[in-house]
């Protein structure tokens, strides 16, 4: 088990998400950066869907209740375990009572803490992710608080320290500036409801990520993007990544805690292979959209799968090599 000592902002228990409950109005929840959660679980030899803790704000501090392995992935942070500094995207082994302190986040927006065997909260409707709106899943359906003691599944044996090249390095996009996130999008149903000049504005703008951005959605600020005539849709299903244009012309990217349906016009959808980049984009930062075709979006997903497969193979290899000695 692990005990939360201090927490800032809405840290929560998340796995990859709850994907087959839309018909009851239940959205996916799940890690905003699913690549980082998977990478942490791969490092630990866990099921990739094992639950971890998503930490969006610092400082954060916790105590390990017994010997166990853990990993930190996602945002770049300054972290210390038992007083020792650990590098980003790293797994380590701790003893009973050791304290993890995470102070600052110089890069990225969300840190993932995974533990050997995973955070062992009950499965609710097929997932361990926190459903904030429905107040279920995760740890009692709410953000973590100091004093919470989270159960951990059986930990694997002692494993040595090991790091992973951050996904942002391996999967770096060309032409990406340090303070700007570029994400690929497939155009959506109401794209043609915007005239050519407005469409161009949507593509060419560098959108500011407002402080009202969170797990529900990223609210962007920039030039008003308005359709030729007002569009009011009958309510229909939407998924994380859908970019809605409310009447004020300021785009909202639906994220993991978004409503499962909506009626604002949709201009485009961030592809699954890039949604984690939005999850790691910081408030106040810039975001730009790049149009991509459906088949290219599938190719990007294949590239992502290949990266994860390579991680799995590499970890197995290093494990084997170390065992041989």
């Amino acid at each position: 088990m692990i005990e939360i000592l201090s927490v800032t902002g809405p840290a929560s228990v998340q796995d990859l998400g709850r994907f087959d409950q839309y018909r009851f109005g239940v959205g996916t929840s799940g890690a905003m950066d699913d690549v980082a959660l998977r990478a942490g679980n791969i490092l630990l030899g866990n099921d990739e869907n094992a639950a971890g803790i998503e930490i969006p704000m610092l400082p954060f501090k916790l105590r390990f209740g017994r010997d166990m392995a853990f990993a930190l992935t996602g945002a770049d942070v300054e972290a210390e375990i038992a007083g020792r500094v650990i590098p980003p995207w790293w797994r380590s082994h701790v003893g009973t009572g050791d304290i993890l302190t995470v102070k600052t986040m110089p890069r990225g927006a969300r840190l993932y803490l995974t533990v050997g065997g995973g955070i062992d909260v009950p499965m609710v409707l097929g997932s361990r992710s926190t459903q904030f709106r429905g107040e279920f899943g995760g740890w009692h359906g709410r953000p973590l608080q100091p004093g919470d003691v989270l159960p951990c599944a059986a930990s694997s044996a002692t494993i040595g320290e090991l790091g992973i090249e951050p996904a942002g390095t391996t999967l770096a996009r060309p032409n990406a500036a340090a303070d700007e996130t570029i994400v690929r999008v497939v155009i959506a149903g109401e794209y043609d409801g915007f005239d050519a000049a407005t469409q161009t504005l949507f593509w060419s703008s560098s959108w500011k990520i407002t402080p009202q951005s969170n797990r529900y959605g990223y609210r962007l600020q920039g030039p008003a993007v308005k359709p030729k005539a007002p569009i009011e849709k009958r309510s229909h299903g939407i998924v994380p990544g859908v970019i809605q244009i409310p009447p004020n012309g300021q785009p909202i990217i639906q994220m993991r805690d978004a409503q499962t349906s909506g009626g604002y016009p949709k201009i485009a959808t961030v592809i699954r292979a890039d949604l984690w980049r939005v999850g790691q984009a910081r408030l106040g930062g810039k975001l730009r959209f790049e149009q991509t075709a459906y088949t290219d979006a599938l190719a990007a997903e294949a590239e992502m799968s290949a990266y994860l497969e390579r991680l799995r193979t590499n970890v197995r290899l290093v494990e084997e090599t170390r065992t041989c000695r």
Partner: protein
């Protein structure tokens, strides 16, 4: 299928363990020749090596790959000469495929020299950092 760095590392370790010193692989479009270095200091920059009969201890690589003095997300290297370090502290990384394996200080002391150039290929037991222990 291209030969991956991890495959090379695996081959190198098989060679080391089996005592074979050279292997050559040829496939359509690519060939690979691996020569195992029996002199552990080959990867080192010669000017940095001072024969040392004192009690210095050496932090060594425990896996084959490329030496990284700093994490790619950090400007500063893990250690610089003159720095005080504790036993078990990370003094560098070996990059193997997508993974980083830590090189740790075997004892507390002061960093005397980082023997290997960043990016250099290292093997199992290649000396990386020389440390003057605290007595």
């Amino acid at each position: 299928m291209p030969i991956e760095l991890t495959d090379i590392a695996r081959l190198a370790q098989i060679l080391e363990r089996s005592g074979v010193d050279t292997i050559e692989i040829e496939e359509p479009g690519q060939s690979l020749k691996l020569v195992v270095d029996t002199d552990p200091r080959m990867a080192a920059s010669p000017t940095l090596i001072v024969p040392d009969a004192d009690h210095s201890v050496i932090a060594k690589a425990d896996i084959a790959g490329h030496f990284l003095a700093a994490h790619p997300w950090r400007d500063q290297p893990f250690v610089v000469p003159g720095q005080r370090i504790e036993a078990g502290e990370i003094v560098g990384l070996v990059k193997i495929g997508l993974l980083y394996s830590p090189i740790v200080a075997p004892a507390a002391g002061t960093v005397d020299a980082v023997i290997v150039e960043p990016g250099a290929t290292v093997g199992y037991a290649t000396p990386i950092v020389r440390i003057r222990p605290i007595n």
